[in-house]
């Protein structure tokens, strides 16, 4: 048994309302007309990590997710969908299924991660270093619509929680210091002994914790058991592990040379395992023994995603719009579709009226109809939508079975399933919950509308 994957798929998150609801849990929220969960699942499949536990908050949500997964990934992945009570936090959810973990190493991935960084690469780094935990760090994504750069800076400031401050060693492999949550806004305090031990530490504030971790199972279970109050992996478990590594290790600095020699020794030992997908040599448990014997401590590692890679977490309305935009735009390879020469996808079953233009970076799903003189730019339109004439849709997401009558203008908005927009409705930066009816001629700006 190689790696066991735990996918934390969340439930019906409050922060994403009105987009998510009882009928559409977060995991099934369509991103470029595909359920969100399909992104990490495809990624795991590509890394040949096929044994996984999907943890969903709430029975009902779990049922929905389970039904979808079993139909979509039948014969492709061995998925077990587990329901846990709501509001446990990520660490709590992990604690709830702790008994089911059996493999040596556990890969924990958040279900809302949209990325093209292969989890296998993280797993390989984890094995290679014999780490207790390996975290994926990626550049902080620029959020906000790409055509308004001024707002992007503002949005970044709005989301301080997503920023981390990390301390890395000289080789940028080892995680020596991590600050997350509200602490990020304060001055950085680094223990002097830590610097003494390593000599040199790189402090970076332009990386974020992508919520993809590889853990050593025994340690993870110990921590979850001992620290019952821990609720979050990102805010508590990981910082705890990083903090305690110095204590148990006599010296990280001395450990380094051993690491090098240990590495070569292991390479020749023949006790090797290959992660087939990447052909990266991952010495197994033997290596860990060598290291733990030589320096007694554990080590926390980091896998830093290359700048060119896409890495974004869908945990806010803003990020939902961003990810939709990116998946059909600059990161189109993630969508899994093949784009036409005009850089857009129009399902052959779509019906377009005369003088209707569909710009680049758009997706029109099957069965949708558009009237005359419509204009769609950088937007996603779901299945079986009926759109009248003179409708403008810019930078927006329109889900399935939406009715949009003549003369509507939609900009920077998200329109959920079964919404009806009556004539000449104008939406700017709005979120419209499922089944809502926007009345004739009404104008809305930066509002969140949902059916009572």
């Amino acid at each position: 048994m190689d790696f066991q994957v735990v996918l934390l798929a969340g439930g019906t998150s409050e922060t994403l309302s009105p987009l998510v609801s009882r009928d559409v849990p977060k995991a099934l929220l369509p991103v470029a007309n595909r359920p969100l969960l399909s992104y990490p699942l495809d990624l795991l499949e590509a890394s040949d990590l096929k044994d996984l536990i999907v943890v969903v908050e709430g029975q009902e949500a779990a049922r929905l997710v389970g039904a979808w997964v079993s139909s979509a990934y039948l014969d492709r992945l061995r998925v077990e969908v587990v329901a846990v009570p709501e509001d446990l936090g990520s660490a709590g959810a992990l604690r709830a299924i702790s008994k089911r973990l059996t493999a040596n190493d556990i890969l924990v991935i958040s279900g809302d991660l949209v990325t093209d960084v292969l989890p296998g690469a993280v797993a390989a780094t984890h094995r290679r270093n014999g780490a207790v935990v390996t975290a994926l760090l990626c550049s902080v994504p620029v959020s906000g619509p790409s055509d308004t750069p001024s707002s992007s800076g503002k949005d970044k400031a709005k989301k301080p929680n997503r920023l981390n401050i990390v301390g890395l060693d000289k080789t940028k492999q080892f995680l020596l210091h991590i600050v997350s949550g509200t602490e990020v806004e304060k001055d950085v305090r680094v223990h002097k002994r830590k610097i003494q031990a390593v000599g040199q530490m790189e402090i970076r504030s332009d990386l974020m914790d992508a919520h993809l971790y590889a853990f050593k199972r025994t340690i993870l279970q110990d921590v979850l058991e001992q620290k019952e109050a821990y609720r979050s992996i990102r805010l508590e478990v990981l910082p705890y592990l990083v903090r305690s590594q110095l204590r148990s290790a006599p010296s990280v600095g001395n450990g380094r040379p051993v690491d090098e020699t240990g590495n070569s020794a292991v390479l020749s030992s023949g006790n090797l395992q290959c992660l087939s997908q990447h052909r990266v040599i991952a010495p197994s448990a033997f290596k860990q023994d060598v290291l733990s014997r030589s320096c007694g401590g554990h080590r926390c590692c980091a896998y830093i995603a290359p700048k060119s890679k896409y890495c974004h977490r869908l945990n806010s309305i803003q990020s939902y719009s961003d990810i939709n935009r990116d998946v059909i735009g600059e990161a189109s390879h993630l969508s899994g579709y093949s784009f036409s020469a005009h850089n857009n996808i129009i399902h052959p079953s779509c019906v377009l009226g005369s003088k209707t233009t569909i710009g680049p970076h758009c997706i029109l799903a099957e069965g949708s109809q558009l009237g005359d003189k419509c204009s769609v730019k950088r937007s996603v339109i779901g299945r079986h939508c009926r759109i009248g004439s003179n409708v403008k849709i810019v930078n927006s997401v329109v889900m399935n079975h939406v009715v949009i009558e003549d003369g509507c203008h939609i900009q920077g908005s998200v329109v959920c399933n079964n919404v009806q927009l009556q004539e000449r409705a104008v939406l700017k930066d709005c979120q419209i919950g499922a089944g809502y009816i926007v009345t004739t001629g009404s104008e809305h700006k930066a509002e969140s509308l949902a059916r009572k």
Binding site: K192, I195, A197, G199, M201, E202, S205, S251
Partner: protein, 735 residues
Amino acid sequence: MSQKKSRSRGGGGAAAAGDDHEDLARPPPLQAVLLADSFTLKFRPITLERPKVLLPLVHMPMIEYTLTWLESAGVDEAFVFCCAHSNQVKEYLEKSGWAGRAGAGSMAVTAVESHDAISAGDALRVIFERGMIHGDFVLISGDTISNMSLKDALREHLDRKKKDPLAVMTMIIKHSKPSVLTHQTRLGTDEIVMAIDPETKELLYYEDRADNSNLYVTIDKDILSNNPTLQLHNDMEDCYIDICSPEVLSLFTDNFDYQHLRRHFVKGLLVDDIMGYKIYTHELRSGYAARIDNFRSYDTVSKDIIQRWTYPMVPDVISNRNCSESRLHRQGIYKASDVTLSHSAQIGANSVVGSATSIGDHCRILNSVIGEGCTIGKNVVINGSYVWDNVVIEDGCQVSNSLVSDGVHLRAGAIVEPGCVLSFNVEVGKNALVPAHSKVSLLPQPSNEDSDEELEYADTNSGVTDSPPFSSMRSNGDQATVPSEEDESGTSETGTCGVVGYIWTSGDAGILEEWRQSIAPISKEKLEELQHAVSENDGSEDESNNPTLPDKDDSSDSAVEDDDLISKFEKEVEETFQRAMGGGVNRDNLILEINGLRLAYSLQHADCAGAVFYSVMKSALQAAQSTNDTLLKTTAEALGKWKDLLRNYTKTVDEEMEILLKFEEMCQETTKEFSPLFSKILPFLYDTEVISEDAILRWAEEKEHADESDKVFVKQSEAFIQWLKEAEEEDDEEE
């Protein structure tokens, strides 16, 4: 002396003239400021008699290395700033031929003399006033050994300056040896933590002084928001070679309180963000650079020289100038040609023996440097030590890991334990034992080591006799024979043995730092302790960082800091005040300075009042004799003299209350001498209008509900308070 001066000036002038016609073809001449005074006490007692830069380092005065390097690095004009022992430095420059040289290809050396300078900051202010520096210059102190090429660093500096005129300084730094333990202990200097932007190499944070009370390095959040990536270094050595723009000098002049180059100037620029000036670093990748800051770095650098890391600054290459040719033999042994060496004597690897030295039978010299004209008897063991010129070591002596200055005489059988420093002409008696880490000098230890270490300097310009008076309990007359420990324990038989000279006692800080800064190798226990310190991680950090728990640690921390801050502030105010007492500063300036301090510590006006009052009272106490009467009298005088100053701070009742509370606190804690006089001084404060009756009455009121112990002084002055109350009533009646 004036003759010398004019000659050296002439040299500088000639160089300038020489540069004139080459000016078109060449960039402006590169200038250097060499500080021939370290402004520290680390090499005492030796520096009482000879300036540090002239101390021999493997047979050559340190300044020789520095000047040679400056010349080889392409410096056209060097200003040697001398302060303590300036005569000796100038004499040396004359004799060695540095001064007075001119013309193309060689470096012009000009001595700059000032006796008032007590710090590097003062020195640079003097240089600025004299207007000698016209362009970018190299700032170095005369105890720096290097063989690096300045070209790259200089080009970087100039390029950067073209793009960004705010880049005023480039510091040369170097990787230290890659071991946890030797990062900072190798040179015996304080630990340095630097934060550097890996892209631009801008220095963002600098902390030197090992302050163990503060376990954390704190980096301001603003720094991080401007620089998403930064490198924290603990593994770098500061070479103390800086390439500066002329702005640096004016910065020193503008900020007249800058003394120390690093602690004040660098920190000031980084923390206060003055005019947005920036400091950059240049990492030295090949080449050698190190500064001799203390005895340990003296030892380390000497070994590096012997092992030829500093090539071409090695004994057999540059010592030719002094005509004492020494040749390199196998295993890094350097021997002058005229050494008299017994056949049975053994010289171990990495040793240097100077000319006209004779070494007797069965001697063993290991890892040591022996100067010129030394006479070493039979069966002497010298290990890891530095023996300067004309030293007599008689039969059977043992010297290990110590420094033995010129003219020292060790009589037969003497043992010098590791870490000792024997200053000039000290005599050690027969079979005497000099205990480890002792410092022996013919000059007495100055009794009062006033003020901060960094402000101090070897102050005897006129020579030996000028040193401050010595109040020793051990001495019994001039040049006392201080019995050594051996003597006391009764093992000596002759009675005449012992040490001629004073054994200096090291201060409190000295004991702590002794292991770090002496020549003696660091003991095994200490290394283990260090190793342990590095590896162990106290549990408290865990708790305090735990996000689920309230941050208890922090609050208590800040409270402690607060207290600390006020006491520090008080101390500074006191110092400022004492300076004012000595004359010099007038009242207005004093108020200005104190206000400045208040702002610096961001304290309340009331704190100021308390601190000033404290200083006034302290001054009275110091002036007074022991009896209460005189104390009262001097206090009254002091209060009379400074009442204006105090009144300046007592604008409101709150501040007056603060003074009263402070007075009370002083009487109870720090200066108990005042406690019997409380009730007598209080009316005086009232008379001089420092404190109003409102404040006194309110104080009395507040204290009514206090503990008995707190009420002592209220009771003591009950009569006066009563009188005040009655007077008030009378006033009311009159109206």
